[in-house]
Each structure stands twice: as C-alpha cells, then as structure tokens.
C-alpha cells in the first residue's frame, strides 16, 4: 500500500459521491468522468494496462461525452423535479446501500491471495494488448463475437429509436 493507492481511493470515493449526490447533472457527469480517469490509472497499477487505456478512452472519452451531449441536448441539468411518488424508496436508499456494502465487505475481508504477488505479476505480462489479445481471441472468442453482435444491434437500435416518426423516405 503506497501513497498512490490512498490518493486514488480518496479521489474515487469523492468523485463517486459527487456523481450520485450532485444536484446539477453536468457536475455529476464531470465528477463521473474524473472517477473513470482515476479508475483507469488504478487499472494500470493492478497490471491491466490495456484495460486502463480502454477505461479512459471508452468510458471517460466516449460514454461520458455522450452523457454530457444528451444533457445539453435536452437542457436536463436539474436532478430533482416535481412531486416524489416513491418517498420511502429514497428514505431506504442509504440503509440498503450500507447493507450491500457490509455484505460485500464481509465476503471480501478474509480474502487471501492464492499466489504471491511476484508470481501473479509475472503471469499477467503487464496486461498489455499483446498479452490480452490471445486470451480474448482464443478462450473468449464466442463471447467476443456475441458482444460484437450486441454492439452492432445496439448501434442500429439507437439510430432506429431516434429516427423521426413518419418521416418521408429520402
């Protein structure tokens, strides 16, 4: 455990809290983008370099920009609107979240690493694209193909959903 772990943990929790608590949707989106960038550096620290860059490029780059674009498009920066038909759900939220955390923490707390750190680090080859590629394209090939098909369908669905209704053929 070094200074990086501590600072990254504090920043992750702070930006995560801002992302779920901010009254302004733009502030929440920016806090979440910062969360993703720090998460990318944490991935690199945990020997997942390729995933760290993917996290920054896909999450902080593409997904959060898409969020901010839609917020701006719809002028939807307010978090609270009108009467609340489910007040009990919001009252219970902190308790349920705390229970969830306690359950997960109870499961994680006695975790003992099966390998010593140096052996595990050597087996990961730094988690670069060269190391991850063969795993994805051999052992996980069908999963990768399925996810690729899903992404294609999602792209088509996204375009079809926002197409103006009853528009004449061009």
């Amino acid at each position: 455990m070094n200074l990086f772990d501590l600072v990254a943990g504090v920043v992750l929790l702070l930006t995560g809290f801002l992302a779920v608590q901010s009254k302004n949707a733009v502030h929440a989106a920016l806090a979440l983008a910062a969360n993703f960038i720090v998460m990318g550096t944490v991935f690199m620290r945990l020997e997942a370099r390729f995933l760290g860059w993917i996290e920054i490029i896909v999450y902080a780059g593409a997904i959060m920009v898409l969020f901010i674009f839609v917020i701006m498009l719809l002028y939807d920066a307010k978090a609270d609107l009108g009467v609340d038909p489910l007040p009990w759900l919001r009252l219970w939220a902190p308790g349920v979240a705390a229970l969830l955390f306690l359950g997960l923490a109870w499961a994680f707390f006695g975790f003992k690493a099966p390998l010593d750190a140096a052996t595990a680090k050597a087996a990961l080859f730094g988690g670069t694209a060269q190391a991850l590629g063969p795993v994805l394209w051999r052992d996980w090939l069908y999963a990768v193909l399925l996810v690729a098909a899903l992404l294609l369908v999602a792209t088509v669905a996204a375009v079809a959903l926002v197409k103006p209704e009853g528009g004449e053929e061009r």
Binding site: E55, Y59, F67, I71, A93, A131
Partner: protein, 99 residues
C-alpha cells in the same frame, strides 16, 4: 499487495452506485449510477485478476466495458425518444406505456 483495500474500495463504489440508482429520479442520472456500479464490478474483477495472475478476468472486464457502451447507446436513445413525446426525463413520469 493490497488486494483487500481495492476490493473494499470496489464494494464501496458499488454501494454508492446502488444508492444513486435508488435515489435519483432523472433517467440520465440513474444511468450514470448504473455505470458507476459496472465500473466498481470491473475494479473487483481486475483486483482478482491481479491476485490470481489470470488474464481471463481481464477479458471479462473488457466484455463488461463493451456491454456498458451498448447499454448507454440504447439507454440514451430511449431517453431522447421518450423526451420528444413526454418533455420529461423523470422516471416517475414514465409509469405508463401509452404514447
């Protein structure tokens, strides 16, 4: 290595995301909370990959990232399509399917 520290961090972020998912009323902010939860799960996967020295969990995390991208694309398209009809992005206003 500090596996337990990162696992607890992932649990805390997951709980924060769940809190946001229960607390938020705008679809956009709800989706953001779900993204936070997916990301926390990814942190857990990568910590376990580091502990076991296994690249398989990193492959799974990559698939989660791709799934999140697909989910956001469809989710935001739905938000925009619904906003055109309802002039609102509050989930409570979407309790009936009648257009």
């Amino acid at each position: 290595m500090t596996y337990v520290y990162y696992l607890l961090l992932s649990a805390l972020l997951f709980a924060l995301g769940a809190y946001g998912a229960m607390r938020r009323r705008s679809v956009l902010l709800l989706l953001m909370s779900v993204e936070l939860m997916l990301n926390a799960a990814n942190l857990g996967l990568i910590t376990f990959a580091r502990a076991w020295g296994s690249l398989a969990a990193q492959g799974a995390a990559l698939l989660v990232v791709a799934l999140a991208a697909a989910e956001v694309a469809v989710g935001l398209a739905l938000v925009v399509a619904v906003f055109r009809v309802r002039e609102s992005t509050t989930v409570d206003d979407l309790s009936e399917l009648k257009g």
